[in-house]
């Protein structure tokens, strides 16, 4: 059996008396899109922040690429290849597409034996264009501030940035929020394209149609606990909603963590 790229074991995160993430375990395989579902406050975001280094889990382990890891800082996680795209995208709206893809990691040219370093704009533009072509994203111009781009296009820039910097695992927090319908479709297409490249994606969402459209597997959380894990093909909206509102629960105390366990029919 192929080892999963990321596996999280028995992760717990408490904020004071509140248990935000309660003993959650799951694994992500290469080239797979996993939807992380749950109502507001179910602990999806906290779980993701524990993985991407924003929070530190109180208990539990993370294995990335077969090795135990502890990300003390988001930059640390990124260095390992875990790219998280939050809803605010972390883009500088006053800069152009190329500048944003290389933000904080600019490529420099040396002059006079390294005394003076200037930005290698041409190189960065060329690389940006290649990455965008690769992802089949088309912008009329790459040298305008991205302020003038639509929400979906900016999302695409953020995705392209992650891809260019060799993301091994992409985590996306509600990427289709605040987007028009055609834009949503484009973002979902991008996620599929990432999967074709073998980059697994964790898609956080509470929009079920989105999850059904792209995810291979779905993990449902309710009040900090993982309550279900299903193959997308083997479930339906009604069943998922039952899990999301807490009406059904596969992972009852005794059988917790047995992710592969067959579930009784919900009817």
């Amino acid at each position: 059996m192929i080892e999963p790229l990321l596996s999280v074991r028995n992760m717990t995160k408490r904020f004071g008396g509140l248990v935000a993430v309660n003993n959650v375990s799951f694994a992500i395989n290469r080239g797979e899109v996993v939807g992380l579902l749950g109502d507001n406050g179910a602990g999806k975001s906290t779980l993701i922040k524990c993985i991407s280094g924003v929070h530190h889990a109180d208990e539990g382990e993370i294995f990335f690429d077969g090795k135990p890891v502890r990300f003390s800082h988001p930059i640390d996680a990124r260095r390992h290849g875990v790219e998280t795209i939050y809803q605010d995208l972390a883009l500088a709206n006053n800069l152009d597409v190329g500048a944003n893809i290389f933000l904080g990691r600019e490529v420099k040219k040396n002059h006079f034996g390294g005394v003076i370093k200037t930005l290698d704009e041409r190189h960065m533009l060329r690389e940006s264009r290649q990455t965008l072509d690769f992802l089949q994203i088309h912008f009329p111009t790459l040298t305008e501030p991205i302020e003038s781009l639509s929400g979906g296009q900016r999302q695409a820039v953020a995705i392209a940035r992650a891809v260019y910097w060799d993301a091994k695992l992409m985590i996306m927090d509600e990427p289709t929020n605040n987007l028009g319908v055609p834009e949503q479709r484009k973002v979902l297409d991008l996620i599929r394209r990432l999967r074709e490249r073998g980059v697994p994606v964790i898609l956080i969402t509470h929009i079920l149609p989105d999850a059904f459209a792209v995810a291979d597997r779905l993990i449902v959380m309710h009040r900090g606990r993982k309550v279900a894990e299903k193959a997308t093909a083997g479930t339906n909206t009604e069943e998922l909603i039952r899990y999301m509102v807490g009406a059904s629960d596969d992972m009852s105390e005794d059988g917790a963590l047995s992710a592969t366990r067959e579930t009784p029919s919900p009817q």
Partner: protein, 205 residues
């Protein structure tokens, strides 16, 4: 809070520290002999050239280097800059140092010109320099602006004040005119942000 406004606040703090007499004195007389000053005089007739050098350096720094790119990035979105690993605090400190150095150079030139120093000699220039920057298209909220725009802004202010002097307008009124121009420029700046903000929201929904 916009950085320029904060800097203005810091400036007020320094005023306070300056003491009740209303004048900061040199703690020690600077060891600049009249001789040295006189030799320095050779650069005095060429303030335009000195300015041009500074402008060229600033343009290079802001538009061609990583330092400049990070400056824009921080202005455009602090959050994004932090998350992409730009050392925001260190960068901001560097910017303040740079600003203080150019102000120091200006002080040096003015000392040469008047062959006398005072801590308050540049005070009337404070309003003009902020005005020049804003008229030149630098946003008070950060992220936009060019060096050349600032130069043009400075020229506009210089032409304005020189013209007013030529028209025999009192110094009192000159301040008011410059102040009015600043207010108009800030209003335009604000409305520009409002307009783009509205566009952004429309695009989002």
């Amino acid at each position: 809070m916009p950085a320029d406004i904060r800097a203005y606040g810091n400036d007020a703090l320094i005023y306070y520290i300056r003491g009740e007499d209303g004048g900061l004195y040199f703690l020690k007389r600077p060891d600049v002999s009249g001789d040295l000053l006189r030799r320095m005089d050779i650069i005095l007739p060429y303030p335009v050239i000195v300015t041009a050098c500074i402008v060229a350096c600033a343009m290079f720094l802001l538009h061609k280097t990583q330092f400049g790119r990070h400056t824009y990035a921080i202005g455009g979105g602090m959050e994004a800059a932090v998350r992409t690993g730009i050392p925001v605090d260190r960068h901001t400190i560097k910017l303040y140092i740079l600003s203080a150095s150019t102000a120091g150079l200006a002080g040096f030139l003015s000392t040469l010109r008047f062959t006398a120093g005072s801590a308050v000699i540049g005070d009337p220039l404070l309003l003009s320099s902020i005005a020049a920057v804003i008229i030149g298209g630098v946003s008070l909220f950060g992220g936009t602006g060019t060096v050349i725009g600032t130069v043009i802004g400075a020229l506009i202010i210089a032409i304005l004040t020189t013209g007013l002097v030529m028209l025999n307008v009192e110094a009192f009124w000159q301040f008011i005119v410059v102040g009015t121009v600043v207010i108009v420029a800030v209003l335009i700046d604000q409305s520009r942000d409002l307009i783009t903000g509205r566009q952004r929201r429309n695009a989002a929904t």
